[in-house]
């Protein structure tokens, strides 16, 4: 096998030129091409699931069920939805015209941006690579995918499968790290879709600004979970556990990051969590095969540092065991760590769950609002008024009441952030829209011109114009009939 060549600026330029030629030639515009590519993606999901599961186990120690469900099944559904709806999505949308533009008809046409770049993340390397690519292809773009180098087996498999199945004149994978990404970002793209950290999100947007390239940034944040005492505690706790440790061991953008509850209720929450954690993962969670490991030693050390910080390490109420060699940290619960600790200052992205207690639950709103806007905010309660207030006043990418994370499986809801957690959204038709330029088209008739439009200007014309704006029916007739 030939040694991997370094992918530099020249390669990136040639790549974009090639893809632009394909796009200009119309390769990606037709319905048939888009459908064929989507069908090929479906074949990848159907025929290569064991390899995908194996790659994810290599890269992340991801349990088969998580790989199968949260990556492959979600993708399969996403592809099927696109196949089913594509004709609808591609159809122009009629727009209403008004008296000022009469006679006319108007529509909005969805048009691909052109050649787009998708930069993916390491925690759900298949899902976060292919799901945006589905959107890009559905919308008729040529697309370059750069998977994350921190999940190398997945990256290699993606490159191999996509080259094998998809039309490489318009769809390519570039593997690599900072050098390759930098080379890619110097090029002019018609759209960039990035999933990752807020820090790199800034770099991406700054690079995009040079070319006025629109971006979708799917970032992260500290997604809070507010737990009201008026809830079904067992279900609440099970869902939190499944949403945290059951989704890549807390390494997910919408992972429940920390819990907010009352001083009174916290002990009950902790007890319930301990009990359910044992049910799920046994007495020795470090031995459980049902959780992903920590992705690499850099992240292990990062999480370790959070746990070891003074005034944090003594707040551990459950777990805390670490095994650097096997990149494992036990499900760990902490109680009332300082608000300015490391663990409360950055997105945890790991199996540590701080619980912060308040005198009353209302205070949780202020705590959340004093922090950067997260990708998700969760609330568990039966209290209708609390639900309404939460949904109305807590700003986050998305709000989920009485569950965790499931909203990302719902194609009818836009999935995206706000503020530090990102900009733009996707999933379902929102993916198609994210990769489309909505072109306004107005069809006017050459009949019925009105002198009021043209110089020389006069008071009379002004009166007519005002009437038009005020929709004075009598004066309008005069205007429409071309009298002045």
């Amino acid at each position: 096998m030939a040694a991997k060549k370094m992918f530099g600026a020249a390669d990136a330029s040639i790549l974009v030129t090639d893809l632009r030629r394909s796009f200009d030639d119309g390769v990606t515009r037709g319905y048939e091409w888009r459908v064929t590519q989507l069908q090929k993606l479906l074949i990848i999901c159907d025929n290569h699931e064991p390899e995908i599961v194996a790659a994810l186990r290599d890269d992340l120690g991801k349990p088969e069920l998580e790989s199968s469900v949260y990556e492959v099944s979600l993708l399969r559904n996403s592809i099927k939805l696109a196949l089913k709806q594509l004709k609808n999505w591609m159809a122009p949308e009629k727009a209403k015209t008004s008296l000022t533009t009469f006679p006319a008809s108007a529509e909005i046409v969805s048009e691909p941006f052109g050649v787009v770049l998708v930069i993916s993340a390491w925690n759900y390397p298949f899902l976060l690579s292919i799901d945006p690519v589905i959107g890009a292809i559905s919308a008729g773009n040529a697309v370059v995918l750069k998977p994350s180098e921190l999940a190398p087996a997945s990256s290699a498999l993606l490159a191999k499968l996509m080259e094998q199945y998809l039309d490489s004149s318009a769809v390519r994978v570039v593997e690599g790290a900072v050098t390759e990404t930098t080379a890619l970002l110097e090029q002019k793209w018609d759209k960039i879709f990035y999933t990752g950290s807020s820090k790199i999100g800034r770099v991406i947007m700054a690079a995009a600004a040079k070319h006025l390239t629109p971006v979708v940034l799917e970032l992260g944040g500290k997604s809070p979970v507010v737990v009201d005492s008026d809830t079904d505690l067992k279900v609440t706790v099970r869902r939190i556990i499944a949403g945290k440790w059951g989704c890549n061991n807390g390494q997910a953008c919408i992972s429940p990051d920390y819990i907010l509850t009352t001083k009174e209720y916290a002990p009950k929450v902790i007890d319930a969590m301990k009990k359910e954690l044992e049910t799920f993962y046994g007495k020795n969670p470090m031995e459980s095969k049902d959780m992903s490991r920590i992705v690499n030693s850099t992240h292990f050390d990062r999480l370790s540092k959070m746990l070891d910080e003074k005034e944090v390490s003594d707040k551990i109420v459950y777990g805390g065991e670490k095994d650097r060699e096997n990149l494992k940290i036990a499900p760990t619960i902490l109680l009332d760590v300082p608000l300015d600790s490391l663990i409360m200052s950055e997105e945890i992205f790991g199996p540590l769950l701080p619980i912060l207690t308040l005198n009353n639950l209302e205070e949780s709103f202020d705590v959340i609002r004093s922090r950067p806007k997260p990708l998700a905010a969760y609330l568990f309660t039966h209290n209708k008024k609390l639900k309404e207030r939460f949904a109305a006043t807590v700003s986050a990418g998305g709000i989920v009441v009485n569950d965790i994370a499931v909203h990302l499986a719902l194609h009818t809801l836009p999935f995206g952030g706000v503020g530090e957690s990102g900009m733009g959204a996707y999933h379902g038709k929102f993916s198609f829209d994210a990769f489309s330029h909505k072109k306004a088209v107005l069809y006017r008739s050459l009949f019925g011109d009105s002198a009021v439009r043209y110089p020389p200007y006069s008071r009379g014309k002004l009166r007519l114009l005002k009437a038009l704006v005020d929709s004075n029916i009598f004066d309008i007739f005069k205007v429409l009939l071309g009298l002045s």
Partner: protein
């Protein structure tokens, strides 16, 4: 500048405090503010027209048609539609998630910055302002220093009509803009040139601030003489109006250049000349109906474009310049070289190049060599040509058989693509432009499925697989133990 920095920071602090208080969330407040904008314009028509006349020599009819009328209408539409726009959109969720509910609510971003332009200083300030307020934001407006009288009017009058703790105006040029851009905003709306658009976006990237950039480009006008010869008079009038009838060609959607078959060029010119005369009389400088050029620097720029000897040689009408009076004569060029400066930057002035082609189909190729414009205009009744234009070119919008009027159609999104911009507004799009679409999902604590939780086993895997495929019958079989 220190004083300015403090002013900005104090303004930001106050606006953020106001936003946090929740006052701007009330639809009643928003409608009242927008109503106040309406009143402000109505009460001060004469003052506004006078300011526009002083800044740009704009005739009051033009001022009303392009600025006051636009704002009045925009305010009316917003007030009448706001209740509808603010209604949450309910989403259908798959049966599997029953009885979960999903919806999307539009939430204000928070404190937004509107940077306006000098050519339509009233409408390009107040129209985005209406959108920002309709969506429930607090807003800081920076008007352009190049239209000082309009800017002064806004700075003085807005505080007299609107809630000064929520809506603020700042005057100034690039130095003020620089200070503003150093701070964090929740959204930035900019109207201006692509060059400055890049600077704005790069600054926004530092804070992950989403942007809408309404930029410009060379809006081509295709004249397919074959199919519209019967209505050529209307066509010529519309083109002339689209070049000289609105701020003397200094509009982002002005007709920039015309494309026509060689054999018809001279008859077009022969019809344009008397049309210009009918608009502006023998001496356009004295007509009072032709707007001035913004500043001496802008006149010098246009002068430079014309000074190219090859361009000089192509002048078939006009060409005279009076820098003192900020006057450039309505000028027609016939086939200036395609590589001349005037054919490679947005003209933004009263000079009309006519580019001839052998076959009108070639005009598409020429358009594609240039950056994507804000608008493409085409006078044709040839359905094939229309289809080719729509599918082979890209632009913010396409208008058939008219010019500029797409601006008035508020069911159509107004915005660019590529070099001509990012994002869109007008009508409901203005409301959406300044809103974060927040997904809200509510699950039920009642129905809990064991299969959602570890420890994993084959049964749970099969269950979840079937659930994802929405294979409900097979699911039931599985649960009844009748499926392996």
């Amino acid at each position: 500048m220190e004083g300015m920095k403090e002013t900005v920071e104090e303004s930001l602090r106050e606006m953020r405090e106001t936003f946090a208080s929740g006052r701007t969330r009330s639809l009643k407040w928003r409608k009242a503010q927008i109503g106040a904008i309406y009143e402000m314009v109505k009460d001060n028509e004469d003052k506004i027209c006078s300011a526009l006349f002083q800044d740009l020599g704009k005739h009051s009819t033009e001022a009303f048609r392009d600025e006051l009328g636009v704002v009045l209408r925009s305010a009316t539409v917003a007030i009448n539609s706001l209740d509808k726009w603010a209604v949450p959109k309910h989403s259908n969720l798959p049966l599997l998630f029953y009885p979960a509910k999903g919806k999307v609510i539009s939430e204000p971003y928070g404190t937004v910055l509107v940077l306006s332009s000098w050519n339509f200083p009233i409408s390009l300030s107040l129209d985005p302002l209406i959108g920002a307020i309709a969506a429930g934001n607090t807003v800081l407006l920076k008007s352009s220093e190049l239209s000082p009288n309009a800017s002064a009017f806004l700075a003085k009058t807005i505080p007299a009509y609107l809630d000064t703790k929520a809506i603020k105006v700042i005057e100034g040029g690039p130095d003020v803009a620089t200070i503003l851009l150093q701070h964090q905003w929740d959204k930035i709306f900019f109207t201006g040139s692509p060059k400055i658009g890049r600077i704005i976006m790069a600054a926004a990237a530092q804070h992950l601030t989403p942007v809408t950039l309404e930029l410009g480009g060379k809006c081509p006008t295709i004249v397919d003489h074959h199919t519209i010869s019967k209505n050529i008079k209307s066509v010529v009038k519309r083109i002339a109006g689209g070049k000289w009838g609105s701020c003397s060609g200094q509009a982002c959607i002005s007709v920039d250049y015309v494309l026509i078959e060689k054999s018809y060029a001279s008859s077009l010119i022969d019809m344009l000349k008397p049309t210009i005369k009918s608009f502006f009389g023998e001496n356009p400088k004295e007509s009072g109906c032709l707007s001035k050029i913004a500043t001496k620097q802008h006149v010098q720029r246009l002068s430079r474009l014309l000074n190219d000897p090859r361009v000089q040689a192509s002048i078939v009408h006009g060409g005279s310049i009076d820098e003192e009076k900020l006057y450039v004569e309505p000028t027609i060029l016939l086939d200036p070289p395609l590589d001349s400066e005037i054919m490679n930057e947005e003209i933004f002035g009263p000079i009309l190049p006519i580019i001839t082609v052998r076959d009108i189909q070639e005009s598409i190729g020429i358009i594609k060599t240039k950056p994507k414009p804000l608008a493409i205009y085409a006078f044709t009744n040839d359905e094939n040509l229309k289809t080719r234009i729509l599918s082979e070119t890209s632009s913010g919008s396409v208008t058939f058989n008219d010019v500029m009027i797409q601006y008035m159609c508020d069911a159509l999104p107004f915005g660019g693509v590529g070099e001509s911009g990012i994002g869109r507004y007008h009508g409901k799009y203005s409301f959406d432009c300044f809103s974060h679409e927040k997904a809200i999902m509510e699950g039920s604590l009642g129905m809990d499925l064991d299969a959602r939780y570890p420890p994993w086993n084959n049964f749970k895997l099969t269950f979840i697989r079937l659930a994802f495929r929405e294979a409900y019958f097979k699911l039931i079989l599985l649960m009844l133990g009748l499926k392996r």
